[in-house]
Amino acid sequence: MNEPDILFSGDDALRVLLSDRATRIARASQLRQSGDWLEVVPGRQDVTVQFDPIRLTPAEAMAHLRLTLATPPPPTRHATRTIDIPVRFGGSDGPDLAMIAESLGVTEPDIVSQLLAQPLRVDMLGFTPGFAYMTGLEEHYVIPRLLQPRQQVPAGSIGLITGQCGLYALAGPGGWPIIGRALASLFDPASADPFILQPGLQVRLVDSSKA
């Protein structure tokens, strides 16, 4: 196995470059289980670990990370899970769907059917609590972010940008054009594991108007 590149992200964090999603998820799980790091945060192309410089100098942290990465990650035990999420597309639930369709020169049902054609993969959670970055439409559909982010998008909103689909688990500010809204709750504040979506999970969106 080739040694991945590692770079510093500030004085107390190290970033491991891992372009393959499955490797990233396996490594993040391995690093989290080691208990050696304050935070283990997957990005879209990397995994970042934060350390406590009272315990480890930066050089020691780097050596320790290399040592862990020299061991292959334990195989993931479970088969990839798929969950179905019913969605209302367009209208007041997806106020930007018509604008996206028009700018791409296709119809609203074209976009929805492309998105429903295969399950989406969750890459990572980030930015705000429970926001899931997922795979989206083919990259040749160019969909820019909104010029003016919204102050508040409702919980369950589904956003679409080039190559990616994003799911807002909670209400909050959002800069992605919104095409629909999940009818299932994606957040359980009382649970130790409060967010339903996890990296690696497959998500099958279901058009609620056809269910």
Partner: protein, 308 residues
Amino acid sequence: MSLTILQPGAQMTLQGAPRIGTRHLGVPASGPADPLSMALANHLVGNACDATCIEITFGNAAIRFNTAASFALTGAPAAAALAGRAIAPHTAHTAQAGNELRIDGVGQGCRIYLSIAGTLATNAFLGSTSTYLPARLGGHEGRALKPGDQIAIAAPRSAPTIETPAEFRPICSNSYALRAVEGPDYVASQSGIWDETFTATQRASRMGLELEGRFPDPASASDIPSSAVFPGALQLPPGGHGFLLLADGQTTGGYPHILQVVRADRHILGQIRPGDRIRFLQRTHAQATEALRAKQALLAGWLPEFSL
């Protein structure tokens, strides 16, 4: 046994321990914007360093004690009075039931910490009592406190009158020199950043501080693959201003991350207010670790359980 919020000032929230190990869920640390000042306030009343306190932005606040309890004020300096009599900061005081505590506006610095000897009632989320306003999590119903809110106090106590020794009182200023290391998107042609003075704009919150001044051009595209960022990260979004992340800052970002304020100095960020001037002092990773260990060793003389 409770206290009542009479006047919350610009923003009043409950903050306790930061959330650790939740950034991969998109959940930031939260907790006090200035953790050192909060630890000092808690220490004066005999609480754990990260016991839940009231964080008050810019002062101009008032509360009423409905039960007798000791308390202390630290952070940004402001005149304060208990039942009409002036009281000093960095000192444990005891309020009687019915006493009102009034706090004036702050002249320098940004946030005041009010500790109460006892335990404030909160809605914990993922093991922490800290309020995260954007998603309405933790604290008191996940929101900022407003007039009329009652916060229950479990096991209120009376604490002996002690003061923070002078050498442990942080100084608020209108001008800060923050030690920083190069971020992952820094390139050598940006070295001018170490010579510039930046100014905090009005866009300032617990999420971060916008800085204006002569920032170098980002070397990378403005839309790079999202990657983890932590409090203390200085990012360069399009538009020419810098954005420095604080306790509630987003967990991942796609803007060039050019500097990182070192762990030893991040507690200072919570006291920077609009108009304050900021310079960055270049340090190596090894120097940053030495600075952290030196400050930690110094603080251990008064706050043995606190870590930066």
